[in-house]
Symmetry: C2
Subunit: 136 residues, 2 copies
């Protein structure tokens, strides 16, 4: 029932990446991390994160002076959601097509290929075996 998922925008996703990677942190930290690659004002990052708080994408603790933000949604959940959407719009719903292209485009190492083979085996056997979450 929790219809939380809204589609984060590109800028929001960038911020979420930082929060996911480094855990809860201040606007300053997020901004400094981002400012390495981009060139954007501090208040821009601040504003975005405020909006994200309004949207419910992040939660913030306002006890301390510099508020501490943390992602509300799990990275995998967002990825699932975006992936589904992406498959629909760009691949006409064919996830398999996407997988094939992704495999072809990316030169995967043998370990990664092994992982995939293992996953395929699990799917073939158990029908739906997602018992444990394979690490990223």
């Amino acid at each position: 029932m929790g219809k939380d998922h809204q589609k984060p925008t590109d800028a929001e996703l960038e911020i979420l990446q930082v929060l996911w990677q480094t855990g809860p942190c201040s606007v300053r930290q997020v901004h400094d991390t981002l400012a390495g690659g981009r060139d954007v004002g501090y208040t821009t990052t601040l504003k975005l994160m405020q909006i994200m708080a309004e949207k419910g994408l992040v939660r913030r603790n306002t006890d301390t002076r510099s508020h501490i933000y943390e992602a509300v949604v799990a990275e995998q959940d967002i990825q699932q959601h975006l992936l589904r959407r992406f498959v629909d719009t760009a691949f006409r719903g064919s996830a398999m097509n996407l997988v094939m292209q992704a495999l072809g485009q990316h030169n995967a190492g043998s370990e990664e290929l092994d992982e995939i083979k293992a996953l395929i085996q699990r799917i073939e056997q158990g029908g739906n075996a997602d018992s444990d979450n394979p690490p990223t």
Copy 2:
């Protein structure tokens, strides 16, 4: 330099899907196809396709009264482009991660899985046939 690839917007992508699927056709055809699921005015579709022509996403033949549009870019090219972008923004560049999630989320038929296995085999054996992809 051919910097053809711009990222098509969502609406543009929908139109491209029609063009890819049915081949060159008129605005009317595209609109009727789209109007099945959406609810949008004819001139909206027209305008979008005109803009797409300006951007170089589609080409049009104006000899006949109702212009005939056709996609300039190949579906696979756009998919590649979008996929790359998507992997970067949503999966931090890890195509393998995306593949795993896509496989897990979609319950694939055995034939599809076989296809993937075949592709993996080809990759494993042939090493990297097309490895002219310099990483960024």
